[in-house]
């Protein structure tokens, strides 16, 4: 199990390229650019050696070349692609529901502190409750359906979005609000010209966590709520028949998906909240 989580954590080492473009001397830069690849390559070498030298039975852990081959073959039109796309679609649906409902709700709650304080406990409580613990409850409400998987994922993601957007508004720089007020802005003008904008950056942090959360819950739901498609379903099915190559390929695909979504949101955030961190 621990080996299964490492492969999709390793690509996280990819994030630095954005910050490493500050590398100074050109000779050093050549090295600097290669640095992000070091982690994954070392991991694959250790993985390969562990299998070759027989530390781990090949029936539990296939050689990395086989797993990568199955991943690429599967995504290049194989059956893995279908499951991959189903998971993407469910995650996107859950995320969109969470974002479309959560952001306005969070901004509204945040701009009325009394309203927020009165629901704060509920939000914090359910935000702290592992959403997977609610799966049986959602099963009773929605039955074993596709809607169920999307609904539970949307619920988990929604709370994160609401929380972050609300706090974004509550923690808006007081001085910007004062600046608008002193120029004669009405409450509504302060809200639409300052508060909403101030909340954008924390909202994006929320959206990014929310899409990760949605993916996690969708995968779990696909494993345990009678699904016949999706990466979660594929992982558990191939594990049942000991098709480890396919299992690792699916795990890597899920990892790649999570990573890609994170990077995508970082890029969108940088584009929209262009002033963040300046």
């Amino acid at each position: 199990m621990s080996t299964s989580t490492t492969p999709h954590k390793a690509p996280t080492a990819w994030v630095p390229p954005a910050s490493s473009d500050a590398a100074a001397a050109p000779r050093k830069a050549d090295w600097g650019r290669a640095l992000p690849f070091v982690g994954p390559v070392v991991l694959f070498i250790i993985w390969d050696l562990a299998v070759r030298l027989g530390f781990i039975k090949a029936i539990l852990l296939p050689p990395p070349v086989d797993a990568l081959g199955a991943l690429l073959g599967g995504l290049a039109g194989g059956p893995l692609l279908g499951d991959f796309l189903v998971t993407v679609w469910r995650t996107v649906q859950a995320f969109l529901i969470a974002a479309v409902l959560g952001m306005p709700l969070g901004v509204l709650l945040g701009s009325n502190e009394k309203a927020y304080r009165s629901v704060e406990f509920l939000i914090d409580f359910f935000r702290s409750t592992p959403s997977s613990a609610l799966i049986p409850l959602f099963l009773m409400v929605f039955g074993v359906s596709d809607i169920n998987k999307v609904a539970i994922a949307a619920f988990g993601a929604l709370l994160i979005v609401v929380f972050n957007s609300a706090y974004g508004v509550i923690n808006a720089r007081k001085q910007r609000v004062m600046a608008a007020k002193v120029m004669g802005a009405t409450r509504w003008q302060v809200f639409k010209d300052v508060l909403i904008w101030e909340s954008l950056q924390p909202s994006f942090v929320g959206l990014r966590s929310a899409v990760s959360m949605a993916l996690v819950i969708v995968i779990v739901a696909e494993m345990f709520i009678g699904a016949d498609s999706g990466l979660g379903n594929r992982i558990i099915n191939s594990q049942q028949v000991m098709n480890v190559k396919d299992m690792y390929a699916s795990i890597l695909a899920a990892g790649a998906l999570g990573y890609a979504l994170n990077v995508l949101f970082l890029l969108i955030e940088r584009k929209i909240v262009h002033w963040s961190g300046r």
């Binding site: 004062m178 600046a179 007020k181 002193v182 004669g184 003008q189 010209d193 002033w275």
Partner: protein, 273 residues
């Protein structure tokens, strides 16, 4: 027992009659009272701020220099008292305010030019009127940097210049400046100080400046308002009448040095008290 004994004392305090300030007064402050955490910061504070003049506020740490202008500008609520601008309330008065921390005063999601135009848009001015006023401002400030950039792309001095332009855009009756130079380097301070003086000579806008630099406070001022330690009262109002434009040469004039020396004496007397 105590309560009974004290009761008449309160009852006997007459409501002070409203006394208007001398001719040429712009802002009249009467009976201003403000408590912080149960302690009086201002108690029955009276002040007249003259029109078409620059008043520099100077005083010991914690005497509430910024609090004073924030209360006049309506950013901090007052406990009691009256503040009138030419007899009008703040609601009917157009004011401008320049914050010390320009980074958190500008809106980074708007281009600098839109930041400056923002108060005009709040007034519902048409695009033509806004554009005309922008051209006017750019000319009078002799802006050399690109206003189409975002504020965070500008230097500190450029950002503060822009926020002064924003404050002046709607032609306010009064301009409040809360330590506008504290976050700037010396070169930028000199530059903006000159700009401010130029604008004042062009428009005659009443300005209230909080400063922690005595030289700068005197240099720009027609009156230096010296405050005491809390509970804050007026220690002295020191006129400084050297003609404008004042220049670096002014800094070595005997009259300037005398005014600065006198301010420092009062300041030190108040700090030691």
């Amino acid at each position: 027992m105590n309560a009974v004994l004290n009761a008449p004392v309160f009852a006997d305090v007459p409501v002070p009659e409203f006394k208007p300030g001398p001719a040429g007064t712009h802002i009249t402050i009467r009976g201003l009272t403000k408590y912080f955490a149960g302690w009086p910061l201002y108690e029955n504070f009276d002040l007249d701020i003259p029109k078409h003049k620059i008043v520099s506020v100077f005083g010991p740490n914690g005497c509430g220099k910024s609090t004073l202008i924030n209360m006049i500008a309506g950013l901090i609520p007052i406990d009691s008292g009256e503040i009138l601008f030419d007899g009008k309330s703040l609601k009917d008065t157009k004011i401008g305010y320049v914050f010390q921390n320009y980074r958190e005063a500008m809106f980074p999601w708007m281009r600098t030019i839109d930041n400056i135009a923002y108060p005009l848009k709040l007034e519902g001015k048409s695009k033509g009127e806004v554009d005309r006023r922008m051209t006017e401002l750019v000319a009078s400030f002799d802006v050399k940097f690109d206003l189409n950039r975002y504020p965070y792309e500008l230097s500190g001095g450029q950002q503060q210049t822009a926020s002064i332009m924003r404050a002046l855009a709607p032609n306010p009756e009064v301009l409040f400046l809360d330590e506008p130079f504290s976050a700037l380097d010396f070169e930028m301070t000199l530059f903006i100080r000159e700009k401010l003086q130029e604008v004042f000579m062009q428009t005659g806008t009443t300005m209230v400046l909080v400063s922690h630099d005595l030289e700068e406070a005197v240099y720009l001022a027609d009156q230096v308002l010296l405050l005491t330690k809390r509970p804050t009262r007026v220690a002295e109002i020191l006129p400084y009448t050297d003609p404008r434009p004042r220049t670096t040469a002014t800094l070595s004039e005997p009259s300037f040095i005398a005014a600065k020396k006198r301010s420092l004496e009062i300041f030190q007397r108040e700090v030691r008290r």
